[in-house]
Symmetry: C2
Subunit: 188 residues, 2 copies
DNA sequence: GTCTATAGAAAGATAGAC
DNA sequence: GTCTATCTTTCTATAGAC
């Protein structure tokens, strides 16, 4: 054959990389297949040799994002840094709210995954309730969403930094549930 | 004239209400003008007697959302309840990330408004840093975004409840900044 | 496997009747 | 002010050359 298997695999990866970047920046509906293919310097027509539809591409690309993909990292701070980074990407809930069932489930799954992973990381050193993990994950999602929105670099930096810190305390500080209001310094 | 001024104003309000609901549920790009006009039982053509473009409608509709609109409410819990309610709406950052400058600024302004308002409310009773307010606001945005995503009612309820609680503590508990790690019970 | 060309559908916006 | 009809653009997806 004229194109090797390796070459096809590389092209596929390039499409996935471009899709990840553009979907995260603009959202599903606002990103066209043409945008994606142009981004990796290919043309529309070639797309369907790799994916059967835009939705299928979205599902697969989302699975490779920090929010969805399992990583070898296993401490809270490292995971937070990996997620809450302006260079990193995020997929947005709007895309999914009215999407197909498969896409909806993929997103909810990615959210639960991140939440569970953060909780597992935190529990190596301290108690962390499911609720604290959910709240911290929501904070991450919101911070990424807003950070993508604004050109105000000060706001973006402040937001990401403070969310990184607060998420860390929320996870490793044992959360803010009522019992912890009685936590005393040094008691840890 | 065949249509009174009052009637026009009411139609305009109906369009804004439908737009608010649909934009929040599906996102900007995934919601068509036809969807909105059908929702309030009108037809496409009439739209442009009220708004000059879809973007203009979006900006104005966002200004009326809990996230953007100032309300008379002035304590933290009430504002949180108003925002973190599954019946309430939220506009999503994805819509704005690649939008026109006016839309981008409107969204960033709405975020800053909510953040500042929450901080003001909190400061009536306790210290609240700008960073804490930003983090709490991000948590709200993320919680709403994810809540809209999933059909899992347990996840949605848990998420909204825990974010409501954690945001409250983050705001009124003085946040989680380093100094507060030395906060002792009863010292308030 | 990737290209160009194009079919078919959807959506933003306008024109003109009433 | 609201309607129907339509123009124009954009986009997904397919067909066929290479």
């Amino acid at each position: 054959m004229r194109y090797s298997r390796q070459q096809k695999s590389m092209t596929r990866s390039r499409i996935l990389a471009s899709a990840g970047r553009l979907f995260a920046a603009r959202g599903f509906a606002a990103t066209s297949i043409d945008d994606i293919m142009c981004d990796c310097e290919l043309t529309r027509g070639g797309f369907y040799a790799h994916f059967s539809s835009k939705s299928e591409l979205y599902c697969e690309a989302m699975g490779r994002q920090p929010l969805g993909a399992p990583t070898p990292v296993d401490d809270v701070e490292a995971v937070l840094n990996a997620c809450l980074n302006p260079e990193r990407l995020a997929f947005f809930a709007t895309d999914v709210a009215s999407g197909e069932p498969g896409v909806r489930m993929a997103y909810a799954g990615a959210f639960k995954n991140l939440s569970a992973r953060l909780r597992d990381c935190a529990r190596r050193s301290t108690h962390c309730s499911e609720e604290s993990a959910l709240s911290a994950t929501a904070m991450i999602v919101g911070a990424l969403a807003v950070a993508h929105t604004t050109d105000d670099t000060d706001l973006r930096r402040n937001l990401l930094r403070s969310c990184r810190e607060h998420a860390k305390v929320l996870l490793e500080g044992g959360g803010f549930s009522a019992p912890l209001l009685f936590w005393a310094p040094g008691a840890e």
